[in-house]
Amino acid sequence: MATEAKPAAPTEDPVKLAEFEARCDRGETIEPKDWMPEKYRRQLTRMMSQHAHSEVVGMLPEGNWITRAPNLRRKMCLIAKVQDEGGHGLYIYCGTETLGTDRAELIDQYLYGTAKYSSIFNYPTLTWADIGVIGWLVDGAAIVNQTMLAHASYGPYARAMIRICKEENFHKRQGYELCATLARGTPAQKAMVQDAVNRWWWPSLMMFGPHDTNSPHSADLLRWKVKQKSNDDLRQRFVNLTVPQAQAIGLTLPDPDLKLDQATGDWKFGEIDWSEFNAVIAGNGPMNRERIAARRKAHEEGAWVREAAAAYAAKHQPAAGQAA
């Protein structure tokens, strides 16, 4: 991200910093105009915009199946879901803008710069069953993460998350319902959904990010109560929730090491292939180039529309944006 290339943040006023950290410790909400350390602003801008980009790029793998949904009910569910992802991106962009960076600039940072989005969306959707599995596993993982973020110290982020969590519940349920339907369907449908689970399980676990010992931004974000739980804690919670759900509909998760630890009640799982994770993050996943190309195309082909509407507003309401 462009802001990270700048030299280190100026030394903060120690009195203000102590006061700020005390507020975070007391669980107070930080609002846009409040004093905050530059690093908090930068870290949050990075994290929130990355989250917003992920929602928008996330429209592509699922949008890929809108035109092929196998009945009208599923087609409408899918359109509504992909539309929600766009809405969620929009809510989070608006929240990010309160930190002082314009949405156009944030979008430029991922389309033409080095800003990241969630690695999960760099995998292809190969069959209709992927739509169910994304709703169940990918949205399921996102909900675990977002439920925590609904308590984030930054007010606009927390409020966006509360709205998003309410809406996302439908995503997970429609995904699980879709998987359950396929799992009790024809042999071909059952094979299709099992194959999709096999492909999406590990990338879903990677969504929680690196191990805590290897997560560069985690310490600050935890200290400032942006995050309240570590990557590994959240990942474990997701696995514990998901294993019984898979069992209930007769699907297996592709991990021979998966077993219940009777003492803790946790489902222990095998080691993630971090070389794959790093390759995808570095831009070399199966679909990185296509995703960015598709978003650039939409953005560039839409430029004339954005310019025309602004030109019309300037002609007919010189004070647009100032007065209605």
């Binding site: 105009k33 539309q83 929009l90 600039e105 954005r306 509407a309 602004a310 309401q317 944006g321 007065a323």
Partner: protein, 100 residues
Amino acid sequence: MSTGPNGVGEWPLWEVFTQAPGGKPHEHAGSVHAPDAEIALQNARDVYTRRGEAVSLWVVPSGAIVASAPGDAGPFFDPGNDKPYRHPQFYKTPRGVKVF
């Protein structure tokens, strides 16, 4: 309209307030970008009322909102804290009066 590094600008920002059914007050829902008031209303409708949450919508250019400063929080709001006579619990009703 501001201009990003690639020359493609962003429309102005509008704050959106939605009113839930049942005579509730308008409440801040979030914001949208729009080139003018009509599109701002349409965008607000599509973005913030997809689940039938509203019976009325306001959109306000973000720049038109005047907000109290964080530094004002004390002087602005604390004086309201030491005036208990503004709350009904301040007043006693005679013994035996159950419903007031």
